[in-house]
């Protein structure tokens, strides 16, 4: 900041290309720094999660323990382990010493680096000293959470539910989007308005009769209520796909039609190959919507641990182990790895999809 002011003060050099590019560099780096700090603060809970997931159980409540995963440092003296403390010495320096004989007003220490192991008499209360810590990530948190939650089963359930409902949702939405994009039929505009209006319809209004219906069908406690309703297209997907289909030139359809292709053939060999980007976006959106869904699985699978997806499993896990933050954070970390990795690989498709559904409406 001060540097900017100084360069502006020099009025002659101010206009030189060097000064200008220097100033631009300063402006660019200061805005980048500001943004990085802000984004860092925004994502700080993630760092908390990773750190806690690797901490020793109980470390966060131990007074004097550092934030990073650590255990109290010990050293061996005459075959026995003793704790290590940072001890302020009379000359003003601080040394890491082994406490071998704690006393009320004075204690005996050993310097681990000292080969002769001369005992050092230190005056003062050892309880006021800071213990030395050593970096020790606790991998057991993950194995414990993995086994208690039965993670392989839970992940397989989540994956299968999300995959099946995505297949249903994408196939149906492609058909419906194509219908709205390419055909003229009576009531089309009204139906399209109804389609969009379903976005603001609170799902609670249809929830209870659906629950009764699925219970009477014997679907309660199965995956069917989580999959079947998605096989009938939904407003977001249809809207996104329709917008995309509208950008495909009709001449392509007509050329195929002259070659004798029917509407299904045109959809399969003209529209779909042209819209792989939009279809990928819709698939990814729906897959992770289903992956992360909580309410519907809670309704139908709360009492069926063997069928539960990961969101329900970790919620119930939290209800039991809330007092053990290390296990909870380890389970949270394992839950989010797959969505985050897939997102970072496919982020362009995601964000373009958001823009189409959000802005064009």
């Amino acid at each position: 900041m001060t540097a900017v002011a100084r360069t502006q003060g020099r009025s002659i050099t101010d206009r030189s290309p060097v000064a200008r590019s220097y100033r631009r560099f300063l402006a660019r780096s200061s805005i980048l720094m500001f943004t990085l700090i802000l984004v860092g603060a925004y994502l700080l809970p993630l760092l908390y999660m990773v750190t806690t997931a690797f901490q020793q159980p109980g470390q966060s409540t131990t007074p004097g323990a550092p934030v990073w995963p650590a255990i109290p440092q010990t050293a061996t003296y005459q075959g026995q382990p003793y704790p290590v403390y940072s001890v302020p010495m009379p000359d003003g320096s601080t040394r890491s010493l082994i406490l071998i004989e704690p006393g009320r007003e004075s204690s005996v220490f050993i310097d681990p680096a000292d080969a002769s192991q001369t005992p050092i008499e230190w005056q003062g209360r050892w309880r006021t000293l800071e213990q030395a810590w050593t970096f020790a990530p606790e991998i057991d948190n993950f194995t414990v959470a993995w086994n208690t939650l039965n993670f392989p089963r839970v992940l397989r359930n989540t994956f299968l539910i999300a995959l099946l409902s995505t297949i249903g949702a994408v196939l149906s939405s492609v058909l419906v989007g194509y219908g709205f994009a390419r055909f003229r039929f009576p009531g089309k505009n009204a139906l399209f308005v109804i389609l969009i209006a379903t976005i603001i319809l609170p799902f609670q209004v249809t929830l209870l009769p659906q629950y009764v219906m699925f219970t009477w069908l014997g679907w309660n406690g199965t995956w069917l209520p989580l999959i079947v309703p998605h096989c009938f297209a939904n407003a977001y997907n249809v809207f996104l796909l329709r917008q995309y289909f509208l950008t495909i030139p009709r001449e392509l359809d007509e050329a195929a039609m002259i070659d004798g292709a029917g509407p299904f053939r045109i959809l399969r060999s003209v529209i779909v190959p042209q819209s792989i980007a939009a279809i990928t976006a819709v698939s990814l959106f729906h897959f992770f919507f289903a992956w992360n869904d909580f309410f519907v699985p809670l309704l139908y699978l709360a009492s069926k641990p063997e069928l539960q997806p990961v969101s329900i499993a970790i919620q119930q896990y939290n209800a039991l182990y809330a007092t053990q933050p290390t296990l909870i954070q380890a389970s949270a970390l394992m839950t989010m790895v797959v969505p985050i990795v897939v997102f970072l690989l496919a982020q362009r498709a995601f964000m373009r999809g958001v823009v189409v559904t959000g802005v064009d409406k």
Binding site: P202, V205, F232, V359
Partner: protein
Amino acid sequence: MTATIEELPAASSPRRGITLRPAVREALWGFVFIGPWIIGLLLFTAGPMIASFVMSLTNFDLLHPDSTRFIGIENYTRMASDPTIAASLLATIKFALIAIPVTMGASLGFAMLLNHPRLAFKGPLRALVYMPVMIPLVASTLVWIGFLNTETGWLNQILGALGLPQPDWINSETWIYPALSMIGLWAIGNFMIINIAGLQSVPTELYEAARMDGAGAWTSFRRITIPLMSPVLLYNFVIILIGTFQYFTQAYTLTNGKGDPNNATLFVNLVLYREGFVFNHMGYAAAIAWLLFVIVLVLTLVLFGFARKRVYYAGGER
């Protein structure tokens, strides 16, 4: 399935001797393709909507369907005098008053920052801010519960190091709403991306012209950015508002559905869940669902009415 549907309109094609006008054929095809949605609409939206309204006029209970009686508007009159409903509406409104401005402001602020012409690495930074949207809500809530913990959470340790007060975020009736709003910040990704697209559609010449006229950053923001962004902001507002009235997962995870502290997180949707699926008062729960629907509908209509006067659409009236 594909094959059988393909047969239907083909049966009316000239080959079989019956001639349909092209317009009729096109309409038939249109209905074939949107058919799945129409069936879904009837089975999972329109039908259940009617059923839930009828249900709200009864004392229906899934465990004892035989004793179902038509009780008229009794559920609605009961709702009017139910202190839990009043408390849950109040909780929802208190939460909305904090969460909605925070979400709107943060998503616009991040959008403007991450769309700044001088900012490098825009793509990766946007992806990072969007990323928490992908985290399962239960997992992100668990992370935040830990982060906001009074003793061991980092936020209070940072506040303490800065000499600032350390509120009891999760267990205080007052601080729980800012805490939930903070958790909600991790959901701004979609709104931010939409805002960025909106900002990019504002012609840069307008800003240049304003600068020539001596307008400062604040004036340009208020006179150019906000009016031209108003359709986008309205869309975000409506979606956030609906989301606020349907708030469930975070509150449920936080207290395992109990609504602590002192019913401060017993939001409308949690009451509905409890009445319908824990106490089995399905008729009453259906009435609560309709109350929710009417509130959301009225608020949306009010917003759109307001928008007709105040929102600027580049293409004229929509």
